[in-house]
């Protein structure tokens, strides 16, 4: 087991009170697994990954614990986490294009980064060059400034950079959202390749685009308004989802070949609740076509069949 999260809750402090961004998250990521994390904006997917990397104010750690390779991560202590960041757990940020220092050449920048982690640049150089080959970047880029690279090349450079120390867990935060279809595909496939080559041992791939997850992820976790809604293997989520939210979400995606003149697709009416003073019970209740009295209580995240978890009174209670 690579990553285990137990009952993690993280809030945001604001003047008006706490924003309940993450509530009671329990999940795990196996070695060799790419876990896709999907959900609407504001559902807490980025908060979840942010808290695994750098939990800083106004984020506030509430409860729960996080284990990586069987060791507890001190996520509430930003200082202590330093020894784990980049080494054990690493992130490709959403705006990877802007992650490189514009006035430093790429090679020296990597050297500084490695030195700060007490790794010798020269030792790591052959591996670095090998990985540049993997992502089809010429070795000359190490002597270039970031502006000399195109957006897609920068993105790949950052991917190489974040995985240079073979982290146990790699977090990819919406890395395909700003890209064109062709680059989306290229970047997603590279992530799979990285895992195959052992550049990282497991990955969390955050995106709002479920169809990309279908292409590369082993399992998919769907979040809604700070809670986990459903987790299962990719095939199960796409072809036989159980949670009403997952079902509606998948039904709203336009598939190639479907035309407006022939078939009207439908979105999900309503909006996610505000997480400042969130409603009690299931947070999807207002928008859920199946809601009933029981939904005023928070549904537990239970395993209804092997490796298929769901938080819903309608579906979960049958198990």
């Amino acid at each position: 087991m690579s990553l285990q999260i137990e009952n993690l809750s993280v809030y945001y402090q604001t003047l008006k009170g706490d924003v309940h961004a993450l509530e009671d998250i329990t999940l795990d990521v196996k070695l060799g697994e790419i876990m896709g994390l999907a959900g609407e904006s504001g559902c807490g997917k980025t908060t979840l990954c942010q808290s695994l990397i750098y939990l800083n104010p106004p984020m506030k750690y509430m409860t729960g614990r996080v284990m990586l390779n069987g060791n507890e991560l001190p996520i509430w202590d930003a200082e202590k986490m330093n020894q784990h960041r980049f080494r054990d757990i690493s992130i490709i940020p959403q705006y990877a294009m802007n992650a490189l220092n514009p006035i430093r050449k790429i090679g020296p920048m990597i050297r500084d980064l490695l030195t700060s982690k007490k790794v010798d640049y020269k030792d790591r150089l052959p591996e670095l060059k090998h990985r540049l080959d993997v992502v089809n970047l010429p070795h000359d880029v190490l002597g270039m400034y970031p502006f000399e690279l195109s957006g897609g090349m920068k993105q790949r450079m950052v991917m190489v950079l974040s995985t240079l120390l073979d982290p146990t867990l790699l977090i990819a935060d919406e890395i395909t959202s700003a890209l064109d279809v062709a680059s989306q595909k290229a970047v997603s496939e590279l992530l799979v390749k990285f895992l195959d080559e052992g550049c990282c041992k497991s990955a969390i791939f955050i995106t709002h685009d479920i169809s990309i997850l279908y292409q590369i992820a082993n399992t998919i976790t769907v979040m809604y308004a700070g809670y986990l809604a459903e987790k299962a293997s990719t095939e199960t989520i796409i072809h036989s989802p159980r949670h009403p939210y997952t079902k509606l979400l998948i039904a709203s995606l336009p598939k190639i070949g479907v035309k407006y003149s022939e078939k009207h697709l439908k979105g999900i009416p309503g909006h996610p609740p505000l997480l400042l003073n969130p409603p009690i019970g299931c947070r999807f209740r207002d928008r859920c076509p199946l809601a009933f009295e029981k939904c005023t209580e928070v549904p537990p995240f239970v395993e209804i069949e092997k490796d298929h978890f769901i938080a819903c009174w309608r579906e979960g209670s049958h198990a």
């Binding site: 003047l15 104010p57 106004p58």
Partner: protein, 286 residues
């Protein structure tokens, strides 16, 4: 139409910020002193009030008297007024010019920008102090107001540059395009769409200009090019040095104006740093 919620939040953080608190208290103290001070003393600044000549602070002359027996307190509080006028007016003119030039250059871009930018750079590299010296030396009668105008006319370039850069980044935002699609005139777009977004920034710029103008005025006064028909803190320092306050140990003559200038400018910068933290949530301490 004002965003009350955001304004309240900023006010809340501003009043909780230690730097803003300290800065505001010091400035408020001096403003009150400048306003009330002159009514508390019965002497005019240049009146030879003390026939005994220089005297250390006493119950009659709270801050002592000068070499000529003039009341230092009266000079001090009147000088404070001049200092605030210079800051407000000189800094104000500098800010206003900078804003207008910066907005115009930044919004229109192209050839307008090239010309205004060249002008900005020229004024920027001219040794301001030397020009001020020459102009000030040519004027026979100098008032506080001429001083303000001179300072304002030479201090705008940095503001213009900063405002231009900010305008550049704001004018590419979609809401500016949308305003154009609504047929709004350029002038209206600048002042009703772009400027409100820079209010916090413009306030900070003004505070810096305010402090800068006070310092420049003090320098001009000190080297003898200050107003010829009024008193100011800089002039007090000049006179004190001129009439040997240092060798004779008349500390009460030069310490108050020197301290006040330092305190006011320091407090302004302190407020500025504090407000910067308030406006920029990333610098805020929770």
């Amino acid at each position: 139409m004002k965003n009350l919620r955001i304004h309240n939040e900023i006010l809340y953080f501003a009043l909780r910020n230690k730097k803003v608190q300290i800065g505001l208290i010091i400035i408020l103290f001096f403003v009150l002193l400048a306003l009330i001070g002159p009514t508390l003393t019965m002497y005019q600044p240049f009146e030879y009030a003390n026939p005994l000549g220089p005297q250390a602070p006493s119950s009659k002359f709270w801050m002592g008297t000068t070499f000529f027996g003039q009341d230092v307190f009266s000079q001090f509080v009147n000088g404070l007024r001049a200092t605030f006028i210079v800051g407000l007016l000189g800094g104000g003119i500098g800010t206003l010019l900078g804003i207008v030039i910066g907005f115009t250059a930044g919004y229109y871009g192209g050839i307008v920008d090239e010309i205004l930018n060249a002008l900005t750079n020229i004024v920027l590299v001219i040794p301001t102090m030397a020009v001020l010296l020459i102009i000030a030396a040519y004027l026979d009668v100098r008032s506080v107001f001429t001083e303000c105008i001179l300072i304002g006319l030479t201090s705008w370039p940095w503001t213009a540059r900063a405002v231009r850069a900010q305008t550049f980044s704001l004018r590419t935002r979609d809401f500016v395009d949308l305003a154009k699609l609504s047929g709004m005139k350029s002038f209206k777009i600048i002042f009703s769409e772009i400027a409100p977004n820079m209010m916090s920034y413009l306030l900070l710029v003004f505070i810096l200009q305010f402090g800068g103008a006070i310092l420049t005025a003090a320098t001009l006064d000190f080297i003898g090019l200050g107003p010829t028909n009024a008193i100011s803190l800089g002039l007090m320092m000049q006179y004190s040095v001129l009439w040997g306050a240092l060798p004779f140990g008349m500390w009460w003559w030069f310490v108050p104006p020197g301290l006040a200038i330092t305190a006011i400018v320091g407090a302004l910068y302190c407020t500025n740093v504090g407000l910067d933290e308030v406006f920029n949530p990333k610098l805020r301490e929770m």
